[in-house]
Symmetry: C2
Subunit: 515 residues, 2 copies
């Protein structure tokens, strides 16, 4: 696997970890809630590794009746499709009492020793993980969303910065909600005046699109989904679920503490701003800033969000040029309709590998739609088909937005592709022009693995189907994923090794377990 | 299988059912809560069958990540140990998307055509299912109980009669709790004046011991765990978790509606009385009785509870005499201590069948303890051993109570045995006298499958190990089961057929699945 990445194993290290999965009571936003934890922690532990290193994680499922699978978001799993952690696609989820071992090479993240990055920072390198937090359980969400008629899950109760938020505990018993609980003390980033810090800002939200900002400070965006971008300065960063950005921020203001804040955009917010502290040493890191937290940008300023999407270009000197043409164009119409779901039990990649052709639909998936001739809201059928792509072919994916089930309503969808980065060739408003005179950016398109599709707009992506396997491509909003927005891209699966025993044991794959 | 029961297949019927397991929002006590449902129903559907009939139930697991197993409480599974539904003992739980088919012969319940019962009733035959209801989830309970130090789950929020209760919704939003929700209208039993009704009163509680009574009416107890008992009259019936009684009640009072009520005994109650309506036709069945519901007996009147236990004897003419001596005596000390748990993943019966001797402890389990010489609270070790009993041997089990982790505190434990009925040879106070001069009732001991062990007392049971398999014997309180009170009795497992494919797929049994 290391050879695929083009550097020698001699430099690379192996990181061994054991992750024990349990339920724990957590009060991340001061409200006590049962949460799934890794080694007792929610959010889970941080893995620190350099490009080319090997990660080995033994995941032990200590839950009583629930199965577990772990996806390593942003890791392309080049040559290791069985390690992608996609329940029902690459594996059966791990059963209670069982252990699964995930082993893969880190293809990005921290540059290896001897390589340097095209920007400097003399402070620290900090992860800023943004998430939205519900007090209801994922069981309630899954139940509500699959009711007929379905029940919407509503807006999250809190926004968390590095797992810390603050719910309004008024009128709640302190055993349930207690704002003095140390678990919900705001995260504080300690900065030395004059120094420049790198923040790796990741959104793990299940629903919300966010804006992130640091009161009184500019941020310079230098990286998106671990690809260098042409630096640009902004007061606020829009982050969609599944995206990761690196920004540089310099502690160049008066010595006091400042708010770091995040707020919902793209949907009418019903969730308070998430807060953390940008602490100027030697002020006490728990001291709240003297100011009112900045409100963040207007939630419905779609234009500003599109402008930021357009501003993100590959960095000069680091441009990986895309193929100038594609072999295939797939249009994915993002809309809503009512269909009846079904239960799936056999992972696709194992079925394909075993030639169990009845597990999935053999009819080729549609490669293009005439969106001019179909009424909206009719392109919804329950499908088990896979987009089968010729290995090493170049594929364009046109994400086309439309209205939801409500009139004059169109949502932002953050699309995430497994196993590959794609080039973002362009964004546009309204219906994509399939006749071919669309101007793509082939000069300096950024590569990412997650991209927003803006309301009533389109987003054009290009990627090389050069990683053997079956790979999910889906809206990263959990409810949308559950409601039917994942598709699967297959290519080169004939080159894939036999599935590991640990990946099997559900549905038809039960019969593949060897003594 | 039918031959084992001694009547011909010609008379028996086959009942085919499909049970779809899903999550549903339910408001059984007016408080909206996510519940697991069978075919949309909580409590699940009623299966009506006669002795000798065959039940076939296809259980389809539509949950997203949770596995499911179903135990058929009170069915002895004579010759069908693989159908007992005990996750980790007889089977692997059924995974999401999978179907398991349970097939077994009904060995008791309704008498077959042509047989008559030793009592008469000219009204109807009604099930009265009593349960305690928590607003927290079983995940929260399992998490709290397995914390170190452990967190007690507390008393239930409501008591339900046939799945209906009434929580105090004051100060709660009506979307969460609404006493006018039709789901929580009290159950009403419509009675014609002068007629006699048979009530089959079953306790499905997870924690609570209960008393059940009908305002102003006597009840005649005629059956216990589907065995006829010498009739006796009582104003209130004590019912322990896992027990089933038939009582006769005659509508011989003034024409109005009366309360049926259930209340907690044996623990200091923190749960309101559960209420239903005994409706005298033609009064409206929803009309509440004009009276204050009777409070039920004092929760701490242990003497009254012991007296009722002693009153339950096999019915003359229906006595199945126990063997006069036993081949083995097993003493189970009921106490509490702190130990570290472990995760188990391979069902015992399959492991035994496959001679995987490392899955369980080969050391014989202790057959007796000198309870005079051991300090209390020390008999707690984590064990994977099985009590191996010679096939067809007669075994005595002495349940010996002790104090809990608190001084001067001893709880009631309802013990339930799978695969067999046992004779209840006696109850006693204090330490059981192992020297042998205990007076057992060998004349007319009742047979049951669930029996209370009273505080600081002992209960002596005898059974014939005549059903090949591995059978759980456990305190029926869910928390106690989880905390380590199950033991397993094996006998004749060499006669057991090969496990069905559907029972395998977890732990080591993964390797046993055939294509």
């Amino acid at each position: 696997m290391a050879l695929l990445l083009g550097f020698s194993l001699a430099e690379a290290r192996v990181h061994n970890h054991t992750w024990e999965i349990t339920y724990q009571h957590k009060s991340l936003d001061c409200y006590n809630k049962l949460s799934i934890a890794i080694n007792g922690m929610t959010p889970g532990p941080v893995l620190i590794a350099m490009e080319g290193d090997t990660i080995i994680v033994n995941v032990i499922n200590h839950l009583f009746m629930e199965n577990v699978a772990i996806h390593w978001h942003g890791i392309r799993q080049i040559g290791t499709p069985w390690m992608d952690g996609t329940d029902g696609v690459s594996q059966c989820a791990t059963m209670p009492g069982d252990t699964s071992t995930y082993q893969f090479v880190v293809d990005k993240v921290t540059v290896p020793a001897g390589k340097s990055e095209p920007f400097v920072y003399d402070g620290g390198d900090h992860s800023i993980v943004l998430s939205d937090w519900y007090h209801s359980s994922s069981y309630e969400h899954a139940t509500d969303l699959t009711y007929l008629p379905y029940v919407w899950i509503g807006e999250p109760q809190s926004l968390l910065i590095n797992g810390r938020g603050k719910y309004n505990c008024t009128n709640l018993d302190t055993s349930v909600c207690n704002t003095t609980n140390p678990e919900c003390v705001p995260y504080s980033l300690i900065a030395v005046p004059g120094k420049t810090y790198r923040l790796r800002i990741a959104s793990l939200t299940s629903l919300s699109a966010l804006s992130f900002q640091i009161e009184g400070h500019n941020m310079t965006v230098v990286e998106a989904d671990e690809n260098y971008v042409e630096p640009f300065v902004t007061k606020n960063l829009y982050v969609y679920s599944g995206e990761i950005y690196s920004v540089l921020v310099t502690a160049n203001q008066d010595s006091r503490n400042y708010w770091m804040s995040t707020n919902v955009v793209g949907r009418k917010p019903a969730t308070p701003t998430g807060l953390a502290i940008f602490n100027y040493y030697p002020n006490h890191f728990h001291k709240l800033p003297p100011t009112t937290p900045p409100p963040g940008p207007a939630w419905n300023d779609t234009g500003a969000r599109i402008n930021q999407s357009l501003a993100i270009k590959a960095r000069q000197g680091f441009i990986q040029s895309p193929p100038s043409t594609s072999d295939k164009v797939i249009l994915l119409l993002n809309t809503q309709n009512t269909i009846q779901g079904r239960t799936r039990d056999t992972p696709y990649l194992i079925a394909l590998k075993k030639n169990w052709t009845d597990v999935f639909n053999q009819t080729p998936s549609p490669e293009s739609y005439d969106i001019y001739n179909i009424p909206r809201n009719t392109n919804s059928t329950s499908s088990t088909s896979i987009y089968r792509l010729e290995f090493n072919s170049t594929v364009d994916v046109i994400l086309q937005n439309a209205n939801t089930m409500n009139v004059n309503d169109s949502e932002t969808h953050p699309w995430h592709l497994h196993g590959h980065d794609f080039w973002i060739l362009g964004y546009g408003d309204g219906k994509f022009n399939m006749s071919g005179d669309v101007k793509y950016n082939l000069d300096n398109p950024v590569m990412k693995n997650t991209v927003p599709l803006h309301p009533y707009g389109w987003t054009a992506l290009r990627f090389r189907a050069d990683n053997p396997g079956i790979w999910l491509c889906h809206c990263h909003i959990e409810a949308h994923f559950l409601l039917g927005m994942p598709v699967m891209f297959e290519s080169g699966s004939e080159m894939v090794a036999e599935p590991p025993q640990q990946n099997m044991g559900c549905g038809r794959t039960k019969s593949l377990i060897k003594p």
